[in-house]
Subunit: 224 residues, 2 copies
């Protein structure tokens, strides 16, 4: 159906234009921005809760929380101590740049260093939509099978960071961690990989340290 | 963007027309059809492998296997003993009725009782697309969090069956099974719910027995 493809390209091009404006605007406000993506239930929100708690006092984080329905995740993030705005897409499978632009109007980002966008739980559609971010993070988990990079390659090709969560479940699942890392790096050799358990805290120090360095160097870049 | 909505409605209406034709065609061939959906890694393929093995000799099953990339799952299903056709969507986030119509041309369904369509791993988009099926099955797992019905309601509203997989992981995760069932039934009071572990085999006999009864009664309905 070539008509369908052409329309989709127009919509994507319009999104891309808004995303580029947004990237400039976020830079002008001195905000480093991360787009966090994963399958439903891989642990995006839990990773953010842990990250916000650990970096309190070192990095001021605000969160735009994307969900199809409910504000459960935004409530969890606020309880962890970050300013939060909820986007409910009412059925839509991904966030788009215009939604981020609107959500930003509801945030007071004067004191914020890092803006985190938690996308809809979906390993497919969000990979196609630029949200004006500086960094794309994909979260996978040891309980969702070790074939995800091979089966959903675009997500891994367009991310800069992969966090493997739920290390604590490794003894109870059939998950070949070496294979996941090998296949993800075959798709994207520059991927930074972190292995964590948000339940036990394993690996979170290394991740938070890296994020802090990233945010500070992005801010230096932005304000230079 | 009303234009976008109108276009999407046209595409969905075209799919619906093909799905209705397909439903008649599948009925005329004496095939009961199931559309199996879930988040990535919830265990659709493993559930199908176990179901095919357990029902061998009682129910002739053929599978249309949907994946964005790879034929890993089709190979697993063939090894379990079912005739299989692979659809690779090359980036698309769901199956559509015209893809099923094309895939059917590659299947010899003369001796088949039950056609199973394994959709793309995605809790959002597949819910909107009718594939001509008689039954919609959503698989959730105990490691993906107990908020999935509330956060992805359309999937649960349009399914007739929910299988909760990975019961064996319950001791190691924070998962309130009663809450999941309660919230799923609040969205869809007629949902049939099965609790299984494809790893230990728990609950699979009850599921297979129900499926056998469903397939036989659907076939009686079809051939009446």
């Amino acid at each position: 159906m070539p008509t369908k493809v052409t329309i989709a390209q127009h919509i994507l091009a319009a999104n891309e234009a808004i995303a580029q404006e947004l990237r400039q605007d976020l830079g002008a406000r001195g905000l480093a921005t991360i787009n966090v993506m994963s399958a439903p239930g891989a642990g995006k929100t839990t990773l953010l809760e842990q990250t916000i708690r650990r970096l309190r006092g070192q990095l001021a984080i605000a969160v735009i929380e994307g969900d199809i329905e409910t504000s459960n995740d935004a409530e969890r993030i606020e309880a962890a101590g970050a300013q939060t705005v909820q986007i409910n897409t009412r059925g839509a499978c991904h966030l788009e740049a215009h939604m981020i632009r609107s959500a930003l109007e509801q945030l007071d980002v004067g004191q914020t260093d890092l803006l985190v966008i938690e996308n809809i739980g979906n390993l497919v559609c969000p990979a196609t939509w630029d949200l004006g971010e500086d960094l794309r993070l994909v979260v996978v988990s040891t309980s969702e099978g070790d074939d995800k990079p091979a089966k959903y390659p675009q997500m891994f090709a367009t991310a800069q960071v992969m966090v493997v969560n739920k290390l604590d479940l490794l003894p109870y699942v059939d998950y070949d961690l070496a294979k996941v890392k090998r296949e993800a790096l075959a798709i994207n050799p520059r991927l930074h990989i972190f292995e964590v358990s948000c339940r036990t805290g394993a690996g979170l120090d290394a991740w938070c340290e890296w994020l802090l360095t990233f945010a500070h160097s992005a801010l230096q870049e932005i304000t230079r």
